[in-house]
């Protein structure tokens, strides 16, 4: 399916005390099923706003968003969200956190044992079977983020939305989780939209990189196709000329043509 997620002439403005603030303008984007898209741009460019629009947490001021040919009218289990700060409920164990999502989506059609099995499988996918009964505060930041991914994937969403999911992690953990995500996405054939400000992350993971101009009234500046063959290996790619070219392409967009307003 070519236009699995469609964003058509979307505009987003917020009412503030100083008047109307236009965050996003003229956003057009069409995402195919199974595609991995990253949104990149300087902070304040509205990339998270765009993600929240697809999630249905925000409603556009103008334009329309579609997911599988249906208008997005609010949040729904067909779009799984992984939050930047994991947003696990601290009073529930990892298992219960994931189970909460599973239960909501599948309890109408499946019995208790099947729901439990789904939860186990989701946690197994992110290699956390050993930490199922732990509370979020008892595990590391990287593990929490993996539970967040498991929770989103367990709902079997049409689209996985990730808002800087690895932004708060150290570089080594981040790399490890990126590799895991690559495997999971290959395994589940998920459609992913991910917000990031990490150029390497964008090139390594994406099929297409959506580069955004600076706000206010930010829009899509350029879309860069990443033709690197999968499965991708970070070590092999490190010296790959095509990888280098794509990387500097993104860097040039971010730092030459659309340098951060404060830095310019």
């Amino acid at each position: 399916m070519k236009n699995y997620v469609q964003v058509e002439t979307v505009q987003m403005s917020f009412g503030t005390r100083k008047g109307v603030f236009v965050a996003l303008k003229d956003i057009n984007l069409s995402i195919a099923r199974g595609e991995f898209i990253t949104l990149i741009g300087h902070s304040g460019c509205g990339k998270s706003t765009l993600l929240n629009l697809v999630a249905g947490l925000l409603m556009p001021s103008d334009g329309i968003l579609l997911c599988a040919d249906r208008e997005i009218g609010g949040p729904g289990p067909d779009r799984g969200v992984v939050f930047q700060n994991h947003s696990l409920l601290p009073w529930l164990t990892c298992f219960e956190n994931v189970h909460l999502a599973v239960e909501r989506v599948f309890s109408a059609t499946e019995d208790k044992a099947q729901l439990n099995l789904r939860t186990h499988e989701a946690l197994e996918l992110v290699h956390l079977t050993h930490a199922e009964q732990k509370l979020p505060n008892e595990i590391s930041g990287g593990m929490k983020q993996r539970v967040g991914i498991a929770r989103a994937l367990a709902m079997q969403p049409r689209v996985l939305l990730m808002d800087e999911p690895f932004g708060a992690l150290d570089a080594l953990t981040r790399a490890q989780l990126q590799d895991e995500l690559l495997k999971i996405v290959a395994q589940t054939n998920s459609t992913v939209i991910m917000v990031t400000h990490d150029v390497d992350e964008a090139v390594l993971l994406s099929d297409r990189i959506v580069m955004m101009t600076n706000g206010p009234a930010a829009t899509i500046g350029e879309i860069l196709g990443v033709g690197l063959p999968r499965p991708r290996n970070r070590l092999e790619l490190a010296g790959d000329p095509e990888y280098m070219r794509l990387r500097s392409e993104v860097l040039r967009f971010l730092y030459e043509r659309h340098a951060h307003p404060e830095a310019a």
């Binding site: 947490l57 609010g74 949040p75 799984g80 947003s87 409920l89 009073w91 909460l100």
Partner: protein, 256 residues
């Protein structure tokens, strides 16, 4: 090393405080004829606590019965306040227009001494015991409403986003997110409420009479038994401290 630290931090300093306190008390007692010293009070306390649960009719019962009666009143008044105040707090915290509607009234009534409500209680219930419970109810309900509402209002947006993304039902939102997130605030409200209630019960019972530590103090004043009054002060203090410690422990269990 550990042994010394234990003595240094947990026993030594409080011990100095206690000794100083007793010395000052002794000096004061020496210079005043009416005020009994620590030793005299201690003897009296030993005699009093050797038989805490005697019962010689409604006007002469052991100190144990008096304490239990007071605790009972606090328990009932406080329990009713929790039963009404906590759900009310949830509503006030969740529904903005009810919050705006009620907050001026609550702000106005909260600083009123709960004892001012005693005549209203006597008028409505036409009996002393329910009136005392009513006063405890009034003193406990404000912190319960205010703290619960505050907890609901301070619910992190993240958790609400999770609820929206997972499309949870209202019941699930309440049981899995709202209630556990608010629990620590609620427990703070409960702690404040119990503290005030225990503070107020002595004065309320002085006015209403019956079996209870407050009226006991008043009774002993009429008997001019000053030792017993001092003992009562200690008893009220220690029971209050125990209640506080119990609730702090409970709160720790539910902090994430």
């Amino acid at each position: 090393m550990k042994y010394r630290r234990f003595f240094g931090e947990h026993l030594f300093h409080p011990l100095i405080g206690a000794v100083l306190f007793l010395v000052v008390w002794m000096i004061l007692a020496q210079s005043s004829e009416a005020l009994p010293g620590p030793l005299k009070t201690w003897d009296s306390a030993v005699a009093l606590f050797s038989d805490p649960f005697y019962n010689h009719g409604p006007n002469d019962q052991g100190i144990g019965w008096n304490i239990l009666n007071s605790l009972g009143r606090v328990g009932v008044g406080f329990g009713l306040a929790a039963l009404i105040g906590i759900p009310l707090g949830f509503i006030v915290g969740r529904v903005e227009f009810i919050d705006k509607m009620t907050s001026p009234i609550i702000s106005m009534l909260r600083p009123v001494s709960p004892l001012a409500w005693l005549p209203i209680g006597l008028l409505v219930f036409k009996a002393a015991n329910p009136a005392a419970i009513w006063v405890i109810f009034i003193s406990s309900i404000w912190p319960m409403i205010i703290n619960t509402a505050m907890g609901v209002r301070q619910l992190p947006q993240d958790y609400l986003n999770v609820a929206r993304v997972l499309n949870l039902s209202e019941w699930k939102i309440f049981t899995k997110i709202l209630f556990p997130a608010t629990l620590p605030y609620m427990l703070t409200g409960i702690r404040l409420a119990i503290g005030t209630a225990w503070l107020v019960i002595v004065a309320a019972e002085m006015l209403t009479g019956g079996v209870g530590i407050g009226f006991w103090v008043w009774d002993e004043w009429n008997n001019l038994n000053v030792e017993h009054i001092i003992i009562a002060i200690f008893v009220v203090g220690i029971v209050g401290l125990l209640l506080e410690m119990l609730l702090v422990k409970l709160a720790k269990r539910f902090s994430y």
